[in-house]
Each structure stands twice: as C-alpha cells, then as structure tokens.
C-alpha cells in the first residue's frame, strides 16, 4: 500500500513538473536551435508517459539524473546524499531531544497536577507553540553565538556537536511543547481511571506505576502527534538551515526553487525523497502502534 502511494506520488510529481509552463531553457541567451538540440538531448520531446518510464528506470538504477541549473548540472545523487546526511544528523538530534524532554515535562506536569510545577510546564508548552522555530533560532543565534560567542555563529561540520545544539534545540521546541501537552492530558485521564486506582490500591506507586500502567496507555495518542511533527521538522529545517548555514536538504530545496533558475530535477528528486520519508515515517508509526498496544494489531486482523 505504501509503495503504491509512493508510486502515485512520483507519477503526480513527475507529470506536474513536466507540464509546468516554461522549461529550464527559457533563458534569453540560448538560441532556438540550441534549445531544440538540448531538448532532444534530454529527451524532453518524447511523450510525457515515455519520459516517466525513462525516469523510473533512472530511479531504479539508483540515480536522480543531473541538475538543470544548480551546480552546473552535476549529478544530483552525491550532493543530495551529503545534504540528506547533514539534515538527518540535526533532525535526529532534535527529535530525540523533543521526545525525551517533551515526555518528561508532560509526565512531571501530570503527576503534579494543579501545582506550581504543572503551571510552569503549561507555560513552557504554550511558549513553544507560539514561537516559530526560526524565531527561536534567531534569538539563540543572536544571544549565544553573537553576544556570548559560546557556540559557532554558523554551522561548522568539523565541530558537529557544538554547532548542532542550537538548531536542534530550536527545531525541537515545537515538538517539546506539543508532546508535553498531549502527554499531560492523556496521563491525567489515565491517572483518573479505575485500573490505575486498583494498581494504587494494591500498593504500586511512583515510577513503577507510571511505567507499567500509565505510560503505555497514555502513549498511543502521543505517538499519533509525533508523526506529523517529524515531517514538520522538515519544513522548519528549511528556514533553520537557511539561517544557520547548514548544508542540508532544506537549504537545497530553497536553492532549487528560489535561486536564479528553478532546478526542475532537484525539485523532483527532493519531492520524491521527502514523500518517501513521510510515508516511511507513517509506516514505522503503524508498526509502533502494534508494539505499544497489541490490541490494535488484533482488531485490524479481525476486521
């Protein structure tokens, strides 16, 4: 099913990009004959469906073809993998940070419901929602790299951890607040349920109670919010990478669409990669549901 969706997406993206008015050669300095020759060379005169099949075989051979405007038409794949790796490192760091901190805040808030600590946690989660990641990035960069030069001002691959902390922090802010809010609400509901009261009555308390009875049941809705968050990170990363000078996929995308010439092949390749990532994340989550709550797997089998 996921593969089918991915195939459909690749098809839609490809057709969309091919029927876009204007092409990579609508540049004044190219004569009509040159454009014709170039089009012939790249196979742009064939019917769109034939081109699509060609492109699929290109993909199957593990390549994305060459760029049309960026980097003088160098092959896309090595550039893309390098950028993907950079983004991946920062992204994973921020997801880890976001989930761990978010869960902790949520749990602490739920256990101290109605006390000062709860209010404090609510405040943090509200702040996280209303401050976009790039705004917090600008602030972090201004204060902790410019005013107090503690972290490098721009991303520095040779000093990965030093320079990845700020972007990861600001990217995860939204995730922290959303996860914290959901965890808190779910935990409060579960804590009020009968089976938790029973467990308490039997003498279970503290960490063990939370781990064995509360967290498992509270986690399912939380996992549901994590999925879109992971993808949101991509969007957020686009600006963060621009601000912080990280050579990642987000920056590549900006270059491909907002640069001097739109690079159709890069947009296509990035579109496919992003969609594949998204579908992959969804797939992993479906599997995670089954692990957290075995009932879900059972019901889908029966139905």
């Amino acid at each position: 099913m996921s593969l089918l969706t991915l195939f459909a997406i690749v098809f839609v993206l490809f057709v969309l990009i091919r029927i876009v008015p204007g092409d990579p050669f609508s540049v004044e300095r190219m004569s009509a004959e040159m454009i014709l020759q170039k089009r012939e060379e790249l196979g742009l005169n064939k019917p769109v469906l034939v081109q699509f099949v060609d492109y699929l075989s290109l993909l199957a051979s593990g390549s994305f073809g060459n760029g049309t405007a960026l980097y003088n038409g160098a092959p896309i794949k090595p550039i893309l993998t390098a950028c993907l790796w950079n983004s991946f490192k920062v992204g994973v760091l921020s997801i880890l940070f976001g989930t761990i901190v978010g869960l902790t805040i949520g749990i602490v808030a739920a256990l101290n419901r109605g006390k000062i600590l709860d209010g404090l946690c609510t405040l943090v989660s509200i702040l996280g929602v209303c401050i976009p990641s790039y705004v917090s990035m600008i602030f972090l960069q201004y204060f902790f790299a410019y005013k107090i030069p503690f972290f490098p001002y721009f991303f520095d691959p040779s000093n990965f951890f030093g320079s990845a902390i700020m972007p990861a922090l600001s990217l995860s802010l939204f995730a922290v607040s959303t996860i914290a809010r959901f965890t808190r609400n779910e935990m409060v509901e579960v804590l009020n349920s009968d089976y938790v009261k029973l467990a308490e009555a039997k003498g279970l308390y503290g960490f063990e109670l939370v781990r064995r009875h509360v967290l498992r049941n509270a986690l399912i809705p939380v996992v549901t919010v994590i999925a879109p968050l992971v993808v949101d990170l991509l969007t957020g990363a686009m600006v963060i990478e621009k601000i912080y000078g990280i050579n990642g996929v987000g920056k590549l995308m900006v270059d491909a669409i907002a640069g001097q010439g739109v690079d159709y092949n890069y947009v296509l390749a990035l579109g496919i990669v992003f969609s594949a990532l998204y579908i992959g994340v969804m797939l992993v989550l479906d599997i995670l549901y089954g692990i957290i709550d075995p009932r879900i797997r059972l019901t889908t089998k029966e139905g």
Binding site: T5, L6, A8, I9, V12, L13, L16, I17, V20, P21, G22, I126, V129, C130, I131, P132, Y134, V135, I138, Y142, Y146, V231, L234, T235, M238, V239, K242, I243, M253, V254, A256, I257, A258, V262, Y264, V267, L270, G271, F274, S275, L277, Y278, I279, M282
Partner: protein, 326 residues
C-alpha cells in the same frame, strides 16, 4: 371561596428558591458561550487577537506615513535627500536605520520607511491572507468531507484514496512545485494554503458526518423525502459547525506561520509590499547591528499565534465540556 395568593405563603427557611444555574435550561450556544468566557485563557486569547486586529485595521491609516513611503529629509541647502538602500553600518540620511523614538515608534528600516506603519500593515496582510485562505479551505474541506462521509461506499472510498495520496505529499513539496508554476507574491501564499490546509478540515467534517448521518432527525427528513443536498447541508452541516470552527481557530495560526515562513524563505510577499514574514526576513538581515528592527514583527507574530491557540483551546473545551469543568 378564597383563592390562595402567592404572598400568603412563605418559605420556612426564609430564603427564595435557589434557581439551579448549572442545570437551568439554556440553549446549546449559550452554554458554549458561558463556558468559553469563564475560561480565563480563552478570554486572554480573544483580547490579544482583537487587540492586534484593531491595530492592524486602524494603525496604518492613522499613521502619518505610508507603509511603502520612503521618508525623505530636506538637508541644510534645501534639497531633498532621497534614501538609498545602504548597509546597516551606515546611516545615509537621518531617517534611515533610525532607532525607535517619538516620531518613529518602532524606528525606521534601511530604506527609511516607518516600521510602525509597516509592522501593522504587515500584520494586516498576514491576517487577510490567513482569513481568506482558511475560509475557502473551510468551504472546500467541509463540503468534501460531508459528501464523502454521507454517501459512503465507493464514493467515500475513492475520495478517501485521493486524500490519502494528496495528504502524503509533504506541504513543502507542494509549495515548491507551486513556486515553479506561479509568480511570487500573495497569490502563491494563498494557493499553497488552499491546497494543503483543507485536508484536515475534510477529515473532521467526515468524522462528524459519519456520526450524525444515522441520527433520527436525518432519518426523519429522509423519510419525508428530502434530497441528499438538503440532508447534507441543512440537516448535518449545522451540527458539525462546532468542531469545524475549532479546527479553523487552529488553522489560522498555521496559515500565519506558513505565510511568514514562505516570505522568509523568499517565495512569499514581494517588496515594497510587506507582511510579518517579510519584515522578519528584512530584520534578520541586519540583526547583529540593528536588532530593534526585528523585534516588532516577531512580537506581533508570537502574540497572534498565542492568541489563536488559546481561543482554539478554549473553544474545544467549551464545545465538549468534561465533567470536572462543570
């Protein structure tokens, strides 16, 4: 024969009958409103949003400068100095890159434009974009979801597969393809919001519709011979409004954020027009030297996001009150 009057009786305890306010009869929407305005956070949200809106409406016309007016000064010889874009280190004329003071409440930018006027004009543009886009999204999404949920079967199946594919393409990819198609500017921002935001709306409408379509009153109207259109839009739609409005309140900050993000990346609003995003982008260029330029748009953005989120939370609680809140 004597008929007893009301005055002939008195309560033994000496007090009037207590009217039970919690369970007194009140309409659905009155109940929602009462719940909503009892919630301090929600009221704060309303105040914040309405405040920003008032400023966005009245501040630009009340200001003595236009949002795109490059303020010129007359020098000692009587000739006008026209501002040119300069690096932030230099100050070409008195009114360029000027720090906030009484004349220019938020200061001026690198072209010598009044940031007070520009900030509120930008807020206005951002709000207009968000409202227009989300309103159309609401129309499209609600109709799509209701139709899909109402007819069920093959129609539903096909429509849901379409949503599945459309929803699997990340927003970013859709926006970048649109950016190839269209000119940069307001149109692009609205179009990308139109294409991406209706899906969530339609999912909620469909879920509500599935819940409601088997209710007695819908069955009654079907029995009386009402057509599908009548049932969907006159019987079911009015009862789905609550959740949809809540979703709208959560979508508006997303729209404002998306606009700010697009403008920041450079495919959004084009100069000299401005929006919150483009102002932040302009301010970011000079942040190390003139940090005051970036503060007003960022504050407006944060307040708007906060306000709409608080309103959304309040609405959600007011529409589905839990027992503990009563």
């Amino acid at each position: 024969m004597y008929t007893p009057q009301k005055d002939d009786f008195e309560f033994i305890s000496g007090r009037e009958i207590e009217i039970d306010e919690n369970f007194s009869s009140q309409g659905y929407w009155t109940g929602v409103a009462v719940h909503f305005f009892k919630n301090k956070f929600a009221v704060t949200g309303v105040i914040l949003v309405v405040g920003i809106m008032l400023f966005a409406i009245f501040a630009p016309p009340a200001s003595s400068y236009e949002y795109d007016q490059i303020i010129s000064v007359v020098d000692a010889n009587g000739s006008e100095i026209v501002a040119k874009s300069l690096p932030p280190q230099f100050s070409g004329s008195d009114v360029q890159n000027r720090f906030a003071d009484k004349t220019f409440i938020f200061g001026t930018d690198d072209m010598g434009r009044d940031l007070w006027t520009r900030t509120w004009h930008g807020a206005r543009i951002s709000l207009i974009i968000a409202f227009v886009a989300i309103f159309i999204d609401m129309l499209i999404g609600t109709s799509y979801g209701l139709i899909s949920g109402f007819f069920g079967g093959t129609v539903d199946n096909v429509m849901q597969r379409f949503i599945e594919i459309a929803g699997s393409i990340p927003t970013l990819v859709i926006i970048s393809i649109l950016a190839i198609f269209m000119e940069k500017g307001i149109g692009l921002v609205i179009a990308s919001l139109l294409i991406t935001e209706w899906i969530g709306m339609s999912k909620i409408a469909r879920a509500e519709c599935l819940k409601l379509k088997e209710r007695e009153y819908v069955l009654a109207s079907r029995t009386l011979g009402a057509g599908s259109f009548h049932q969907i839009f006159l019987q079911i739609l009015p009862n789905t409004i609550g959740p949809i409005i809540t979703q709208v309140m959560f979508s508006i900050p997303v729209a404002i954020f998306t606009e700010a993000f697009l403008s920041f990346v450079g495919v959004g609003i084009v100069l000299p027009q401005c929006s919150i995003g483009s102002l932040i982008e302009a301010g970011f260029g000079n942040i190390t030297i003139l940090p005051y330029q970036i503060l007003p748009p960022i504050c407006v953005l944060a307040i708007l996001m906060l306000g709409f989120n608080l309103i959304g939370d309040g609405l959600r609680e007011a529409l589905a009150p839990k027992l503990e809140d009563m």
